[in-house]
């Protein structure tokens, strides 16, 4: 039960963070004309987690949830994690056997994600 409720909590956190992502990207055309980076930075901190966001030009949103107690992860490390995610995702997209919109089932993608998560801990 502990595992299940943990997973649900993550889903909820990520889901809520999407609203913040939307806010940030809709602000791009107006006041923040210069801020056209893909990396969105820290979306919002909860008491247990810090949530970071990144949006590609194809409107794909990446969300990284980090434990609040992990203070050693620096901003540029998070940025590089997003870059790796983006690169892997691009490879998945270019795979002719992959149908855009389907859940990703690529072993290569999964292995890159797992490696990153292990390195961050």
């Amino acid at each position: 039960d502990n595992v299940c409720s943990g997973e649900l909590k993550f889903h909820y956190t990520v889901h809520t963070s999407l609203d913040v992502v939307e806010e940030k990207i809709s602000g791009v055309g107006k006041a923040l004309a210069d801020q056209r980076e893909l990396y969105l930075g820290l979306l919002y901190p909860t008491e247990d987690y810090k949530v970071y966001g990144y949006v590609t030009n194809s409107k794909v949103k990446f969300v990284i949830v980090v434990d609040s107690s992990n203070t050693s992860l620096r901003d540029n490390e998070i940025r590089s994690m997003f870059r790796k995610l983006h690169n892997s995702f691009t490879d998945v997209m270019c795979n002719p056997f992959y149908n855009p919109g389907d859940p990703i089932q690529s072993k290569a993608f999964d292995s890159i994600v797992s490696t990153m998560m292990v390195q961050a801990c």
């Binding site: 791009v28 056209r36 194809s58 690169n87 855009p100």
Partner: protein, 163 residues
């Protein structure tokens, strides 16, 4: 470099194959529609993947026009080794991309006799544009016309999902 020729030849074979497979149909009009849709669909999927890769390292686009300019410069030159020669728009979602020496038409003789065949060789590229736009969040219908080879015009008509 031989690279360009590889895709040009492959494309010619793809068109020939798609039409050959449909050749048994008796209804000529339906054959044309099916073949064009098949080629367009191929181009669509390729366009989606390519735009993902090409926009990986650039900042978000300011607006639709910025996006179309990217398509005309970076996207077109990476794929067809040259930029679009002329971009026009009515600022209401219709664009005209003119390529005066379209890579996939350069092998055709410029006489009028093959003008009828030319649209077959534009279907894939229309799909390419449509796929690229779709992955960037813009639904569109892309048509093309040729009046004097190897010059042609692609006309995406956008319906933006974002706004």
């Amino acid at each position: 470099m031989a690279d360009d020729a590889l895709f040009e030849f492959l494309h010619m074979e793809i068109v020939a194959l798609v039409y050959k497979e449909q050749a048994t149909r008796e209804d000529i009009d339906k054959e044309r529609v099916t073949c064009v849709s098949t080629l367009d669909a191929m181009g669509f999927r390729v366009g989606q993947g390519m735009i993902e890769r090409f926009t990986k390292d650039c900042p978000t686009f300011k607006d639709d026009l910025d996006l179309m300019k990217f398509l005309c410069k970076d996207f077109w030159s990476t794929i067809f080794k040259k930029q679009i020669d002329n971009l026009r728009t009515n600022h209401q979602g219709t664009y005209v991309l003119q390529d005066n020496k379209f890579a996939l038409l350069t092998q055709f003789s410029s006489g009028k006799q093959y003008l009828e065949e030319a649209p077959k060789y534009l279907a894939f590229s229309c799909g390419l544009i449509r796929g690229a736009l779709s992955n960037l969040g813009l639904e569109s219908v892309v048509t093309a016309e040729v009046s004097l080879m190897p010059s042609c015009k692609f006309m995406p008509n956008l319906k933006s999902l974002i706004n």
